[in-house]
């Protein structure tokens, strides 16, 4: 099944095509914010094809990360646990 692991936005570059730098399981990635221009630094998001596809509230992100951790398939960074 498709897997969506929440990533935290750590920086935003505004513009016509705004970009976000996200932290995904300890790795930094750049992605497009065109679809969710309202996203803010600190938001947890799901990424698909280099685009932010949804913004999660903090509780939903924590619940999702906890589900991955409960099944033991990812290692969570200390601050996300």
């Amino acid at each position: 099944m498709c897997v969506g692991i929440p990533a935290e936005i750590i920086a935003i570059t505004p513009g016509i095509l705004p970009m976000a730098r996200v932290l995904l399981n300890g790795e930094e990635l750049d992605c497009q914010l065109a679809y969710f221009p309202e996203a803010e630094i600190g938001d947890y998001v799901l990424i698909q094809n280099g685009f932010v596809m949804d913004v999660l509230d903090p509780q939903a992100a924590a619940d999702s990360l906890a589900a991955f951790a409960e099944l033991g398939v990812i290692e969570l960074p200390a601050e996300a646990g």
Binding site: V3, A34, N49, S64, A67, G72, V73, E75
Partner: protein
């Protein structure tokens, strides 16, 4: 035993790999899409409290958690002996599902018509919120029904916005159907959920299978009969090659999703049904089918708003636990097609085994046929990206703009081909 996924393979926002098999003369013999990025979670779920499984699975899904939510709750209801939920609860679930379909299909439009894509996403989200799921992860359904009914204010807002969105999506669908590509015919069957009259019903309780020549193989089977309907040739594999047991592993391949939904029966909403007739007459493609199903989703929401059934009545029937040593199957026809959750409980009520059969896994044989046609050049104008976009695997690449899929192609020697 703990299984640790290779995250780079799973969450790479651009990664997608096609494997092409050639013989000694360089002729393409087979092709397939590598589904390593879609791991099966089934085996990891064993030992979980069965009531918690749907919630756990939907938290993992990045694209259509609403479909997992409804299929999972359906499996629990089968274990609880619930055969029917109250009409109001059914209507709330339908609102969630159709809203989710719109939200899921919206990204494809962003390169073509950003404003409509955003409007479609907003409307889909609003429908899901009205149905009790304001966040990414749904909280609408509970075994036996739903948590809450739809409020009048949220329904009024949806009713105000729906007609304009419908008209825009109808115009886009007409354009899409008229410009549809001609693709190689699929030799397998089409499988979708239907209502009691055989019309496509995305939350229907009957499964219908129609063969490539239009014959009805299965007219309307219940989820309880799942174990005699479809089997996996490679159980538990990422690409399990499921097949219709009535036709056997050699001939039983099938596809699910919007194309299958349009081929199993006539849609119940009028504008989408008219588009469906044109699409069928012109031998339409999956992009046209998806566009028609978005029109169907908005029409279905408008119909729900007109009846107002989701606003009053009983929210749920009582549920008194889940049967031990039993099998429960729940399903839903999601934005990409049939999604099945099958849970088997042990004597202690915990999950002994699970089968989460996704649309992508079911469409993999169809995708392999399309990739073979593209790689061998047997269908003029069909390239690998077209093939992937047609079968629409639940991976980031599927919604990439034209030319931006970034497919990695590995060419290997075919077995026995040297």
């Amino acid at each position: 035993m703990t299984q640790r996924w290779v995250l780079d393979e799973i969450v790479d926002p651009f990664g997608a790999k096609v494997v092409v098999e050639t013989d000694a003369a360089g002729q393409v013999r087979a092709a397939r899409f590598d589904l390593a990025g879609l791991p099966r979670v089934d085996a990891l779920l064993a030992g979980q409290e069965v009531a918690a499984v749907p919630n756990l699975v939907e938290k993992l899904c990045g694209i259509c958690p609403a479909a997992h939510h409804l299929a999972g709750v359906g499996a629990l209801e089968a274990l609880a002996g619930v055969s029917e939920v109250p009409p109001a609860a059914d209507a709330v679930r339908r609102l969630l599902h159709h809203g989710s379909a719109l939200e899921t299909h919206a990204p494809r439009l962003i390169a073509h018509d950003r404003e409509t894509a955003l409007a479609m996403r907003r409307f889909g989200k609003a429908a899901m919120a009205a149905a009790g799921s304001p966040g990414h992860f749904p909280t609408t359904a509970v075994p036996g029904g739903v948590k809450a009914l739809v409020g009048a204010e949220a329904a009024e807002k949806l009713a105000a916005d729906a007609p304009a969105l419908r008209d825009t999506l109808v115009a886009l669908a007409r354009e899409q159907v008229a410009s549809g590509a001609s693709l190689p015919a699929f030799g397998g069957a089409d499988v979708a959920l239907v209502d009691r009259y055989g019309s496509p019903d995305l939350v229907g309780d009957r499964l219908r299978a129609v063969t490539a020549d239009g014959g009805t193989l299965i007219s309307g089977a219940a989820a309880a009969g799942w174990d005699s309907l479809i089997a996996e040739l490679f159980p538990g594999a990422a690409a399990p090659r499921p097949y219709l047991m009535a036709l056997g592993p050699e001939n039983g391949r099938y596809r699910v999703g919007p194309v299958a939904q349009l081929r199993v029966g006539e849609l119940t909403t009028p504008i989408a049904a008219e588009l469906q007739a044109s699409w069928l007459a012109s031998g339409g493609d999956a992009a046209g089918a998806r566009a028609i199903m978005t029109v169907h989703a908005v029409e279905a929401i408008i119909s729900l708003l007109e009846t107002g059934e989701f606003g009053s009545g009983e929210v749920a029937v009582p549920v008194d636990g889940f049967a031990p040593d039993a099998v429960g199957v729940g399903w839903v026809d999601g934005p990409r097609g049939l999604l099945v959750h099958r849970y088997q409980t042990g004597a202690d009520g915990r999950l002994v085994s699970a089968q989460i059969l996704t649309p992508t896994a079911q469409n993999e044989p169809w995708l392999a046929e399309l990739l073979l046609a593209a790689a061998s050049g047997s269908t003029a104008g069909l390239d690998l990206e077209d093939a992937v976009r047609e079968a629409d695997p639940c991976l980031p690449c599927s919604s990439a703009p034209v030319g931006g899929m970034g497919l990695q192609v590995d060419t290997v020697a075919a077995e026995g081909g040297n």
